[in-house]
């Protein structure tokens, strides 16, 4: 199958540059806080808004990035699952932004954490049910789906992995206020993500034997 789309497609470029821009804003806020240019409450609100923007941006572009296109599941269902995931993330991002703009900080953090965990659980359930159907060999009457090129797929996988790490870490930081417990959780999450990343890297870069 020959892809007609260019090497790095427009949505992939947009998602990567958007993520980089938001990360740059987060770093700038952190530096400003270290230099005592802004107070702690403003920092927390600004970082919350940056996370909300990241969630909405990735959610909006997710159906275009086609992360499930190579899952082997029915293309109609993968497109529907990607659109559902995108809608959930956009809604969560807008709700988080509203909370960090207008609600008292402790309410905003708790609410954003709950919304984030809820969104992650719904998305995991949707993807798991799709994977289950694909593994149980459900046949599709639809034409084979349109995938993305191998180079695009690698970038999308790494990008979504980084996004998942940032989003899950932010949810933990929003929900757990106590420093020591939050740090312990963050350490375990970092270990878990490092192991997952190693597995992912090995899977994406394995060489298939020549036939």
């Amino acid at each position: 199958m020959n892809s007609v789309t260019p090497r790095y497609s427009h949505p992939v470029k947009m998602a990567v540059s958007g993520m980089l821009a938001i990360t740059a804003v987060m770093v700038a806020v952190a530096i400003a806080t270290k230099l005592n240019a802004i107070d702690a409450a403003t920092t927390k609100r600004a970082l919350g808004l940056a996370v909300a923007a990241m969630v909405a941006l990735i959610g909006n572009l997710l159906p275009k990035l086609r992360p499930l296109s190579s899952s082997g599941a029915d293309p109609t269902k993968t497109i529907a699952a990607e659109l559902l995931t995108g809608r959930i993330l956009v809604t969560a991002g807008i709700a988080d932004a509203g909370l960090f703009l207008f609600a008292p900080l402790h309410v905003a953090r708790f609410g954003a954490g709950l919304i984030g965990v809820g969104a992650i659980l719904i998305i995991l359930t949707s993807v798991a049910s799709l994977a289950w159907r694909a593994m149980s060999g459900e046949k599709s009457a639809a034409a084979p789906g349109v995938g993305i090129s191998a180079s695009n797929r690698k970038v999308v996988v790494y990008l979504l992995f980084a996004f998942a790490y940032a989003f899950a870490s932010a949810c933990v930081a929003f929900l757990v206020d106590e420093g020591a417990r939050r740090d312990a959780l963050a350490n375990w999450m970092t270990i878990g993500y490092t192991v997952l990343f190693a597995v992912l890297f090995a899977m994406l870069n394995r060489k298939r034997p020549a036939r």
Binding site: T5, P63, P75, L83, R87, A142, A143, P144, V146
Partner: protein, 106 residues
């Protein structure tokens, strides 16, 4: 965003998107739903692809198209359908062939 609005402004192109909502389809399968010439359909596909609303892949001898809408574009399409841009009934077939220039600049 201009290209997206331009792509969504034509009922034939909106109907193509509606058809692709159900499943990815080949150019030939899509063309069967319309009484317009193949070059005109190709022009419609080109406009949709340039706006990034559909993606295409060559599979054997045919080109398969699939929907590639962002959440915002999907909301725009639904908004367009819901507020007066609705297709005329279930027969979105133009009565006569339209020149390519007219299709590209409605």
């Amino acid at each position: 965003m201009n290209m997206v609005f331009k792509a969504l402004s034509d009922p034939t192109r909106r109907h193509v998107l509606e058809l692709l909502e159900k499943r990815p389809m080949s150019a030939g399968d899509l063309a069967e739903h319309f009484k317009v010439s193949k070059p005109t359909m190709s022009a419609h596909f080109a406009v949709l692809r340039e706006a990034g609303l559909i993606s295409s892949e060559r599979q054997g001898k045919s080109v398969v198209y699939a929907l590639q809408l962002s959440v915002l574009e999907d909301a725009l399409l639904r908004f367009a359908k819901g507020f007066g841009w609705r297709l005329q009934g279930a027969a979105p077939v133009p009565s006569k062939k339209r020149p390519l220039r007219e299709v590209l600049n409605p």
